[in-house]
């Protein structure tokens, strides 16, 4: 196996057990980056967030994801799950290029197709995706 690349010094590592931060920081979102966990020992990308790599027992570091992926599954939500939501809107599972699946949102109401190529919308919070063919717009 190829050794993992050295850590990016600009990225705040998650440190040891006991110092785990639950979510990407506000700074991460302001900079528009999509961060995912990666085991510093084996290089496996870990999502959903885990306190330790199941294989190595080491706390993951947070690294920038490529921000690309494809639609694994999607649905148009037609009823509101609670205050603050205004259906219809699309919730989707996106398989990141790195491998893990992320629950996210896509614009409009589709239709989409499983397998459609998508990319992260910079600065979106919570992280949203859009079709790669779409014209790039700032949020």
């Amino acid at each position: 196996m190829t050794p993992p690349p050295p850590p990016d010094p600009s990225i705040t590592g998650r440190g040891s057990l006991g110092e785990i931060d639950e979510q990407p920081s506000a700074r991460d979102h302001r900079e528009g980056r999509l961060l995912i966990g990666r085991c510093p020992a084996c290089g496996t990308h870990l999502h959903p967030d885990r306190p330790v790599c199941p294989e190595c027992g080491v706390a993951p570091e947070r690294v920038p994801a490529a921000g690309t992926g494809e639609i694994d599954a999607w649905t148009v939500v037609r009823r509101s799950p609670g205050p603050g939501f205004d259906p219809p809107y699309v919730v989707a599972r996106v398989r990141l290029t790195e491998g893990p699946v992320l629950l996210t949102s896509l614009p409009g109401t589709g239709p989409y197709r499983c397998g459609d190529a998508v990319r992260h919308v910079p600065g979106s919070d919570p992280p949203a995706f859009d079709l790669q063919e779409q014209p790039w717009t700032s949020p």
């Binding site: 967030d49 999607w74 037609r78 009823r79 919730v91 629950l103």
Partner: protein, 368 residues
């Protein structure tokens, strides 16, 4: 294996106006009466959905003296898991008579919601999925696209469930008349491609089964229903946590249960497969090995499946797993009247919990 189910019963179903402990009491005392046993015989209890300390609350309510108790809380598959634990506890001699029970007053109490109490990570809940419907909806959408099916294959599951409910006087939709594919497709949308008729009922209800050693079972009034095998699998709690929506934990759960029983899907005469949503049935049938991927629609309406009318048309009290067991037992005893599967000797009950999160399979058979 040397453990048998000797009693089975429902509590009142539908809209009861009764509280959970009253419904639990009905389920347990009716199942014990069916078994020819009394509360004094019970030394093991598995239940959940009653307060903070489920078995403790029910035991005190009924004056039970427990040598064994179990309250794993894993959604609708819990009760199939309880059969495994109970069989092991009875085989090991820790207890001799186990009641597995469940009841809910969710319809009367109007406690069911679309989004609350989901247990999803905040990062997922922020996107506004319905819980659990949107997860099953995503699985359904992928299923339809990957296999080139249209929504009618989902609708047929609801149609078949209704046809069975029309044969079951205890079913919520008994007397409601038949359902058509067009009815299902035209129903109000919930989370595409699922509409309201792709979703299970929200009712009060529950039930109980009683287990003891096969040796003792042979001296009790009802024909013993032998526990032939069991298996389970726990997969994901989040919507992004499952790698492949179409290969659920039913694959491992079923494989383990069939291996323990020394049986295969072809040996099953009647199957009770959790139907929280129409897609749940198709994915579970394929995972359990009854059909190749994408081919479960060919079984719907043609095999002995969800004979009670299922969660879609009979009763769904939040967790349906105990009622899968009740119907499986009744089919093996030949008690099902108009919906009886002639000569059924092996029954499968397969529970699913959460968002395809937990899976548990039980194989039951007549005493040979």
């Amino acid at each position: 294996m040397s453990v048998a189910v000797v009693g089975a019963a429902e509590c009142d179903l539908g809209v009861t106006g009764l509280d959970v402990l009253t419904l639990q009491t009905q389920a347990i005392t009716r199942a014990l009466a069916d078994a020819g046993l009394t509360l004094r015989d019970v030394d093991g209890l598995a239940t959940n959905g009653v307060g903070r300390f489920p078995t403790t609350e029910v035991a005190e309510h009924l004056g039970l003296d427990l040598a064994w108790s179990e309250s794993s809380f894993v959604g609708g598959s819990a009760f199939e898991m309880y059969v495994a634990r109970a069989a092991q506890a009875i085989d090991a001699g820790q207890c001799s008579v186990v009641v597995i029970s469940y009841a809910s007053d969710q319809r009367s109490a109007r406690s069911r919601t679309l989004g609350a109490g989901s247990g999803l990570p905040p990062a997922e809940a922020a996107h506004g999925p319905l819980y659990p419907a949107s997860h099953y909806a995503m699985a359904a959408q992928r299923y339809l696209e990957v296999h080139g099916h249209d929504r009618a294959v989902l609708a047929e599951v609801a149609v078949a469930a209704r046809a069975q409910a029309l044969l079951n006087p205890a079913a919520y939709r008994y007397g409601a008349g038949p359902l058509t594919v067009d009815d299902v497709l035209a129903a109000a949308p919930v989370s595409d491609p699922l509409g309201v008729l792709d979703c299970c009922l929200v009712t009060d209800g529950g039930g109980a089964v009683v287990l003891t050693s096969l040796e003792r079972a042979r001296d009790l009034p009802r024909p013993p229903v032998v526990v032939l095998g069991y298996g389970e699998s726990t997969t994901n709690v989040s919507m992004g946590g499952a790698d492949d929506l179409l290969a659920t934990g039913a694959v491992a759960s079923g494989r383990r249960a069939f291996a323990r029983a020394g049986l295969g899907p072809a040996d099953v005469d009647v199957a009770q497969v959790y139907d929280s949503f129409t897609i749940t049935v198709l994915l579970s049938l394929e995972g359990l090995g009854f059909a190749a991927p994408g081919e479960a629609p060919g079984l719907v309406g043609t095999v002995a499946l969800n004979t009670s009318g299922g969660g879609l048309s009979y009763c769904h009290p939040g967790q349906f797993g105990v009622l899968l067991l009740v119907e499986a037992v009744r089919q093996l005893r030949g008690e099902c009247g108009a919906r009886q599967v002639a000569g059924a000797e092996v029954a499968l009950a397969h529970g699913t919990g959460g968002i395809l999160s937990t899976h548990a399979t039980v194989l039951l058979g007549v005493d040979r």
